[in-house]
């Protein structure tokens, strides 16, 4: 029997860090100091909380710079960071810092304050990972489970495993590679999940897997 795939799920508890920013300088300072889980939270929150919206709003930093500081150009720069290319939170954090430092060299980063009440509040998350009862032994079972497992589970195996747990690749592709479904593994690996709603992602995965299932 081939190695089965166990579906896990992950649930977040949001923590408040008691730290806020009023301008770009404060944002940069915070980005350098907060734990990695905070960077992860602010770059992935929208995906979960507004997953019915399409296209997805960007990361929290870009959203705040655009909407609360009205710095459209800088906001666009932060929004266009290609999160899917990064393999670790550390390198993702460095990219944000680099962009803000370039801005700081060319502009007065303290000159534009947000309105009172619109400060950026740094948050982070504690992530609980737990096994679900679902296990797939072949592609057919895999497709069936994709239809019923929680969106948190799909999120965990696609986003969290690759970037936060630094597994290099999403869990689905890793397993598919192991069971010899190399083409399907590559197919899923090439997907940019940051540009699709979560339910859209589920449908996309089910469709792709379905093309390889021999009924």
């Amino acid at each position: 029997m081939e190695k089965p795939f166990r579906f896990y799920t992950r649930l977040n508890l949001i923590e408040l860090l008691g730290k806020l920013a009023k301008n770009v300088a404060g944002l940069l300072e915070g980005l350098k100091q907060v734990p990695g889980s905070s960077i992860y939270y602010h770059t992935h929150r929208f995906l979960q909380q507004h997953h019915y919206l399409s296209p997805e709003p960007p990361n929290d930093f870009a959203f705040w710079v655009t909407n609360s500081l009205s710095l459209d150009r800088l906001g666009e720069r932060l929004a266009s960071i290609d999160t899917v290319k990064f393999r670790s939170i550390r390198s993702l954090r460095e990219k944000f810092i680099e962009i803000l430092e370039v801005y700081e060299r060319e502009n007065d980063s303290r000159s534009t304050d947000c309105q009172e009440g619109e400060e950026f509040h740094f948050m982070s998350c504690r992530t609980f990972i737990l096994p679900t009862p679902y296990e797939a032994r072949d592609l057919k079972e895999f497709r069936e489970i994709l239809q019923k497992v929680s969106i948190n589970s799909i999120y965990f195996h696609i986003f969290e495993a690759r970037l936060r747990l630094e597994r290099g690749e999403n869990d689905f592709s890793n397993w598919l590679e192991e069971i010899g479904e190399k083409k399907l593994a590559r197919d899923i690996s090439r997907l940019d999940p940051y540009t699709i709603t979560l339910e859209g992602l589920r449908k996309n995965l089910i469709r792709r897997v379905g093309q390889y299932v021999k009924d």
Binding site: E15, L16, Q49, V149, S150, I151, S153
Partner: protein, 406 residues
Amino acid sequence: MSKIEEYAPIGGKSTVEELFLLAERLKGKTIQNINSTAVGGGVAEILVQMLPLLRELGVNVWWDVIKGNERFFNITKKFHNALHGVDVSIGRDELEYFVDVNRENMKEVLRDVDIQFIHDPQPIALVEEKARTGRKWIWRCHIDFTDPKKDVWEFLKSYIEGYDCAVFSAPAFSRPIAIRQVLISPSIDPLSDKNKDLSDEQINSVCERFKINRERPIITQISRFDYLKDPVGVIKAYKMVKEYVDCQLVLAGGEATDDPEGMKVLDDVRKDAENDPDIFILFLPPGSDVEINALQRTSNIVLQKSLREGFGLTVAEALWKEKPVIASAVGGIPLQITHKFSGILTHSIEGTAFWIKQLLNEPEYAKRLGANGKQHIQGNFLITRHIRDYLLLFLSLYEQKDIIYL
């Protein structure tokens, strides 16, 4: 009372399965909720709905209420106002009396449990017992902490920092304190009398009882009679609108046993209404949930023009019913409404009047706001999400790392 399985068709079967998985990990732990009122107000309402569900999941959870007399609740009302930024003077003797009442309650109310879950400032000083019991203590703040008066904040902070963890409803309430802070938004129960689907006959019957005409536009604010909910501002906004658009105003709310100011506010509101036959001031007794549900459902627009707000669950209730909501950008309301997308956020009486007119005149746009609002509430503010957050909170007390394998 609804069963946990009944939430599967609303939030998804997998959502309920995840709750059972988490609750399993809490086996053997006991939890006691403590607050200051069993009836009225958002805290009691949430606990009434949540406890049976937690128990059904297998969690050992209790809820007890501290005792206090009129003097105690007058002092805690002053705290409440001061934490909302209102200038009030609180004497040293009042602070001492507050602590004394808490100490008297210790013997009566505290159970021998693993986790003490204390709600709001009224019972906050019970934490003095932590050193003796050595168990885990959580302080749950349900009120707006954006701009607390310094002296009251300092007094409470000395107790808050005695807890293992503090829980706030919105990011803006977070403060630089020496303990962990967690963000947990409150929630609504989609199956409760206040939020369940109603037939047209049921809605008709409530409107007939209160003599509200369903053929004409209805603007409603549901909230207890409290200055911080600005019912007087609502009447002013209604009067500005009424010059141009025919409409009725419903101000409906109940009373909470821990709020001694309610009757005075109600008198002021009645005076401001000046016997206008189109203003319906409904002082509802406890248990009027179906009436509130019907009033929200029959409304063309729901308002929440609060000056301060712990969270403003009436916004989530109205959005769940796909109603266009105009609300103040205070407390947890901006978490529930994205301006012009899932509702309207305003900052003044004039702004509120302006948007009432807009939405009454543009019902298609108003409908879109309500539909988007419902989706947002479904994803983020239903009781199943709230229960999940509490289970995670309890589990987190025994973990140190950011990533936890259960």
